[in-house]
């Protein structure tokens, strides 16, 4: 089952979602922030957006900050789903 971060009601009601699905594009560990037709990938290592499109500025700053505040939970869920590509591996130092 995809891990869906429980967002504050105000965001959820507008249709925002934050998910880690069983099959994400598996490169840098990330959480997918979804709103209607668009997805933004937020790195679980650095808290930065991975892609220039859709424009990161279209995600409310408060939402990004709230999601990032949950990073330890998100990192744990990512590591459970992707043990071959954990957020911080020994090799990465």
């Amino acid at each position: 089952m995809p891990f869906a971060l429980r967002l504050l009601d105000a965001w959820a009601r507008l249709g925002w979602k934050a998910k880690i699905r069983e099959d994400e594009r598996n490169e840098e560990p990330h959480v997918s922030i979804i709103f209607k037709l668009w997805t933004w990938r937020l790195s679980l290592r650095t808290g930065e957006f991975l892609d220039s499109t859709p424009p990161p500025r279209n995600v409310p700053v408060e939402l990004v900050e709230w999601i990032w505040s949950q990073r330890e939970l998100l990192r744990a869920r990512w590591d459970e789903k992707y043990p071959e590509n954990v957020v911080f591996s020994k090799e990465d130092g």
Binding site: R21, E22, D23, N26, I34, K36, L37, L50, S52, E84
Partner: protein
């Protein structure tokens, strides 16, 4: 003039047209026929959207017009006989029912009206006998994904292919409790999408090692699972510690990852 989408408007889709849906509306049998004759020879496929199939079925029954390269999305269920008739005119015909899963109508309309529709799935069907899922993009171009692709990482939970659904405005594909992102599916199956996705990356290491690293993760292959190439060697190549990878080693890596060596830089 080049046209991408045509809407055969009836009572239920009339409001689509009224609300600025970006497709030319055809409101009579005459307009449907004229449009088919006018755009039928257009090389670039036109996507037709129709709720009422009667004008199109009537056109097919005439048997005078040649099959086009066009694709037809029906919004309502229809009979197999009518679908067969419509295949006389259209290369692709997608209609709900008989195992075909369509996005919910409100989401479907938004996706079809958007510039992103080509990179979103709007419909699909699972063929258990062939063990494939056929997923249709927003321009009705099909993407055929073998079940094996969804199983390659031995995911937990495992996909239940009988419980198929397209969700999140076409951004997720669900098989029971398992969910895959459309982004991951297209990245794996469409080289053009992969190129565009790479161009969108803000900071990306485009070295050969980084490409091998991304490809290996995408395929779910462990570093220690490359016959003839040691785990340590793979790690050093991925970290860029080996600047010139020997052709024989690269061929072995590509073979294990089931790609041509020339494809590796596209990942």
């Amino acid at each position: 003039m080049s046209v991408d989408m045509l809407l055969v408007a009836d009572e239920s889709t009339e409001e689509w047209a009224d609300q600025g849906f970006p497709a030319a509306s055809l409101r009579s049998d005459r307009e449907v026929r004229d449009a088919y004759e006018r755009f039928g020879t257009q090389r670039r496929p036109v996507m037709w959207i129709a709720d009422a199939v009667s004008p199109l079925v009537a056109l097919a029954e005439e048997g005078e017009l040649l099959k086009s390269n066009h694709r037809l999305l029906l919004l309502d269920e229809t009979t197999e006989v009518r679908k067969d008739l419509l295949h006389l005119l259209f290369r692709v015909v997608v209609a709900p029912g008989k195992g075909v899963n369509l996005l919910p109508m409100e989401e479907l309309r938004e996706v079809l009206a958007s510039d992103e529709r080509v990179d979103l799935f709007i419909a699909g069907i699972v063929d258990s006998a062939s063990e494939v899922a056929v997923l249709y993009r927003g321009n009705l171009a099909p993407v055929v994904v073998p079940f094996a692709w969804f199983l390659r990482r031995d995911p937990s939970p495992r996909p239940n292919f009988r419980a198929f659904q397209i969700t999140d405005y076409g951004q997720s594909v669900r098989f029971g409790k398992y969910e895959a992102s459309t982004d991951a599916i297209l990245y794996a199956h469409d080289p053009d999408y992969r190129r565009r996705a790479k161009a969108r990356r803000l900071q990306q290491d485009d070295s050969l090692g980084a490409c091998i690293h991304r490809l290996r993760l995408a395929k779910g292959v462990a570093r220690g699972d490359f016959p003839g190439v040691s785990e340590k060697q793979i790690a050093r190549i991925e970290r860029g510690e080996i600047s010139k990878v020997r052709a024989k080693t690269l061929a072995a890596i590509a073979a294990r990852l089931e790609v041509d060596p020339s494809e590796i830089p596209s990942y």
